[in-house]
Structure formats: structure tokens, C-alpha cells
């Protein structure tokens, strides 16, 4: 039973960690955009056409067109804390080019967007340093994505390993139980008890272990969150946003409990059915 609790706790923990990392990545992704700077010679009609064709790209989530005036306003808003920059921009008669902001669906698609924009017919509409995006950020995001991937794989392996250990232990326990009751089982067999009648109690017992373990694992994770949220006021542990994890867990409480119960019962049932099979075969030659 202890092993089952550990297994299910690992399952739960991997699920929550995974969701939390995905959330972190999604948040960072949302902040990424590609800025397409347009030449002053580009007409508004050309700009809108480019925006429309960008919008049709499957890799692009959202496109926003800012004319020179709007781009300037956006620049002023962004640099509100830096009056020198604002002064420099406004005094020299709006040096800010009209801009198309492109939000990709996925970080890895930035390159393809860049390729699209580098086609000659679009290239000539843009300034020399267009498009621009924050290369450092992309690298950081790549690192996070990679780390999450590795963690996810480790999680899957750990779950599988523990599930197998757990199944083997249940298997063994049941074999012992059957061995202790082999006389009774022999008599049941001779009196014509069906396989399911003999197997039933063993399977039900293991399924109940699975059920209890599921409840325990959810309680353990729950109390871990309670303890950590009160102890760690700083709600972020590196990339693992505990606040979000806790919230996520709270929101999907019922779903997690159901899933855990299902997994627990599945492990218990499958291992007990296999364990009893050998003893319930009719040994007729």
C-alpha cells in the first residue's frame, strides 16, 4: 500500500509540475512578439495587405498594425520612465516607423515568420533592421522548454518504474495470501465455485488498496501545498510557480482525485487478476 501511495503521489506531482511548467512557458510566449518595421515610403494600403497576409499564416496567432502615430504613442508608453528617450523621439519629428506586431503561436515558429518576411516583395517594404525580436529571450525560452521536456521524461519514467514495482508487490502479496488459503481454494474448486467467485475477494481487496492509496496521495499533495504556501511567502521557486501549481491543483481537485482513483484501482485490479490466474487454472492434463 505504501508503494502504491508513493507511485500515485509521483503521478500527481508530475502532472502538476508539467502543467505548471507549461503555464510558465505559455506566459513567456505571450510576451514574445516580432516587430516588423515599415519604410516610410510604404503606403498604408501596402501595410494592411502585408498584415492581412501575415494573419493568414497558420503559425501566427495575432497581427496588430500600428501606423507611425500609433507606433510613436506605443513607444512613448513603453518608455514612460525614461523621459530622455521620449524627448528624443518627439523632438525630431517622429522617427518611429509604422510597425506590424506579429504574435507567433509557438516560439519555435519565429524563424519561419522571419523567412516569410524576407521574401523580396515584403523585404522592400521594411526598414533594414526589420524584423526585430528579442533573441536573448528566445534562447532563455528554449532552455526552459528543453528543461521541461527532460523533466517530463524523467516523470514518465519514474511513474512507470514505480507502477511496475507497485504491481509486483501487490502481485506478491496476493500470491502469499492465496498460498495461505490454497486448501480453501481447492475445496471451493471441487465444490464448483466459479473462477470469478474465488478471485473476486482478492481483486476487490486490491482495488480498495488502490482507492485508499489514491485518496492518501491526493491528501499528501494537498497538505504539501498547504505547508509550502504558508512557509514560502515568495511564491516562486525558480521556474516552478508554486502559487500557480497550488491553484491549478485546487481547480482540478475532483479531476485529479478521480484520475488517481482510476489509476490506483487499475494497478490493483490488473496485478491481482494476474496473480490469481496461475492458481485458478484447472490443472487438468
Amino acid at each position: 500500500m505504501a508503494v502504491m501511495v508513493v507511485t500515485l503521489t509521483i503521478v500527481l506531482f508530475s502532472l502538476i509540475t508539467n502543467a505548471t511548467f507549461s503555464n510558465t512557458i505559455a506566459q513567456i510566449t505571450n510576451k514574445i512578439d516580432v516587430s516588423v518595421f515599415l519604410n516610410d515610403s510604404t503606403t498604408e494600403a501596402q501595410a494592411k495587405q502585408l498584415a492581412a497576409s501575415l494573419q493568414k499564416q497558420p503559425t501566427i496567432k495575432k497581427v496588430q498594425y500600428l501606423n507611425k502615430q500609433q507606433a510613436l504613442q506605443s513607444y512613448i508608453d513603453q518608455n514612460r520612465n525614461n523621459p530622455d528617450l521620449v524627448t528624443a523621439a518627439t523632438e525630431s519629428g517622429n522617427p518611429i516607423p509604422a510597425t506590424i506586431l506579429v504574435y507567433p503561436r509557438n516560439l519555435n515558429q519565429i524563424q519561419s515568420i522571419k523567412n516569410f518576411l524576407d521574401q523580396p516583395k515584403y523585404r522592400k517594404l521594411q526598414t533594414a533592421d526589420s524584423p526585430s525580436y528579442n533573441g536573448d529571450r528566445k534562447e532563455a525560452i528554449d532552455n526552459i522548454t528543453h528543461a521541461t521536456d527532460v523533466l517530463r521524461k524523467i516523470g514518465i519514467v519514474a511513474v512507470i518504474v514505480f507502477a511496475v514495482i507497485c504491481a509486483l508487490i501487490i502481485f506478491n502479496t496476493i500470491q502469499m495470501a492465496i498460498f495461505n488459503r490454497r486448501d480453501e481454494i481447492t475445496i471451493m474448486r471441487l465444490l464448483g465455485a466459479s473462477t470469478s467467485y474465488i478471485r473476486g475477494p482478492f481483486v476487490v481487496e486490491s482495488a480498495i488498496y488502490g482507492l485508499l492509496s489514491a485518496v492518501f496521495s491526493v491528501l499528501i499533495v494537498n497538505s504539501a501545498f498547504l505547508a509550502s504556501s504558508s512557509a514560502l511567502q515568495a511564491s516562486s521557486l525558480g521556474l516552478l510557480d508554486i502559487n500557480y501549481a497550488s491553484q491549478y491543483f485546487g481547480q482540478h481537485y475532483v479531476r485529479f482525485l478521480t484520475l488517481q482513483i482510476a489509476i490506483g484501482i487499475l494497478i490493483g485490479t490488473v496485478s491481482s487478476v494476474i496473480a490469481t490466474r496461475r492458481y485458478l487454472k484447472f490443472k487438468t492434463k
Binding site: T186, L191, G192, S194, T195, Y197, K281, T284
Partner: protein
């Protein structure tokens, strides 16, 4: 009721056949005694009937069921139609007399009401009224064997197979058991009894099948037997 046609059972290639082309026909409501020395093949014969063993060759039909066509999953149903009594009783030591008999009904899904109704009647037939709550270890060998008989007949099988039911009993208790078997036979159950108790065979005056080295040596009605 029971039909064996040239049934052979060989346990391994190096040994002689435990049963060698046995042919036997038992009519409904018959009381047949199978005799023979230890190792003659009596127990093998019974184990073939309860499907604890499969014949190497030959045909077995019991109560209309052809064993060649019997699948593993149908074995429980077959065993519910045959009552079996063993030399070593095979009672559950942790259950009372009543519970041991009720157990045979429980495992086939009979309702509690029916169990409460049936079990006392059967205990009455085997003369164990008043001992419902005893544990098997508190009973004599004869009483234990009668509990086993009660358990075997509580589902009203058409055939009762008794494998040396008196083997571990002194003569008085042995006769208690035999009388119960006779009573059950009078009620219409086919009884197949194996024994090597000369006295019982000679006084019962029933059909006697003698098995010797895995073959039917003699098959006579109202016969005697000399071990």
C-alpha cells in the same frame, strides 16, 4: 447416468496405465461399489469423473455431459451437478458444521433464505441435528464425514461420488456413514462408492465393480468381495 467407454489414463510414458480401457455403465439411481487394492486405479477413476484429470483416451459421459466437449470454464457447472465426498473430508476448519454445508450453496449463489431453509434439513438427513455450531475439530471422524456428505448432497446432485469415505473411520462410524449413503440412494441419487472394506461390501449386497491393475476384473450385481 455414468458412461465410460474404453477409458485409458496414463500418467507418464514409463509407467503402466493407471486405467486401461475401462468400460463402465451406471444407471440412474444405482448404488455401485468400486473395489480394488490401493493403486488399482479407483481414485483415478473418480478424479476423471470430477474432471480433476483428463483421460488419455476414451469417452466419458456423465449426466448427459460429454467430457470431450467440456471447456474449462464449464468445469464449475459440471462439479455443481456431482456431489463428492473425500476420504480426508476436506472440511474448512475455520467454519462451523452449518457454515461448511452452507458454503457449498453460497459459492453457487443461492440466496440466504434458501440456505437457512435447506441446510437444517440436510443436516437432519445425515443425523447431525443439534451439532450445527460445532467446529469440525470438535467432531468425531464419522461426524466429520457426515458433514462432508451433507455438503455434497445439499445441492441435490443426481450423482454422489464417495472416495473411501470410511477409510479413516472405525467400523461403527463407518456404518453410520454407509447408512447415510444408502438413505441418500433411496431418495434417488446415483451413488458411486469406493472402498476396500470387505465387511461393508459383503453386507451391502450391491453391484460391485472390481478394478485390478487398471482394468475391470469383475462387475457383478449383489456381489461379495474378498480383499
Amino acid at each position: 447416468m455414468i458412461l465410460l467407454d474404453r477409458v485409458t489414463k496414463t500418467y507418464s510414458r514409463d509407467t503402466d496405465a493407471a486405467l486401461d480401457r475401462i468400460t463402465l455403465h451406471v444407471e440412474p439411481k444405482e448404488f455401485v461399489i468400486v473395489v480394488g487394492q490401493s493403486g488399482a486405479g479407483k481414485t483415478t477413476l473418480l478424479r476423471l469423473l470430477t474432471r480433476e484429470e483428463r483421460p488419455t483416451s476414451g469417452k466419458i459421459i456423465v449426466g448427459g455431459i460429454d467430457y470431450d466437449k467440456l471447456k474449462d470454464k464449464d468445469i464449475p457447472m459440471l462439479r455443481r451437478k456431482i456431489g463428492v465426498v473425500f476420504q480426508d473430508f476436506k472440511l474448512l476448519p475455520g467454519k462451523t458444521v452449518y457454515e461448511n454445508v452452507a458454503f457449498a450453496l453460497e459459492i453457487v449463489g443461492v440466496s440466504n433464505r434458501e440456505i437457512k431453509h435447506t441446510v437444517p434439513k440436510v443436516l437432519d438427513i445425515v443425523n447431525l441435528k443439534g451439532k450445527e455450531n460445532r467446529m469440525p475439530r470438535a467432531l468425531s471422524g464419522g461426524e466429520r464425514q457426515r458433514v462432508a456428505i451433507a455438503r455434497a448432497i445439499v445441492r441435490q446432485p443426481r450423482i454422489l461420488i464417495a472416495d473411501e469415505p470410511t477409510g479413516n473411520l472405525d467400523p461403527k462410524h463407518a456404518w453410520d456413514v454407509i447408512r447415510v449413503l444408502e438413505k441418500i440412494n433411496r431418495y434417488g441419487t446415483t451413488v458411486l462408492l469406493t472402498t476396500h472394506n470387505q465387511d461393508i461390501v459383503n453386507r451391502l449386497k450391491r453391484r460391485v465393480v472390481t478394478i485390478h491393475h487398471g482394468k475391470v476384473a469383475s462387475d457383478r450385481a449383489n456381489a461379495g468381495y474378498k480383499a
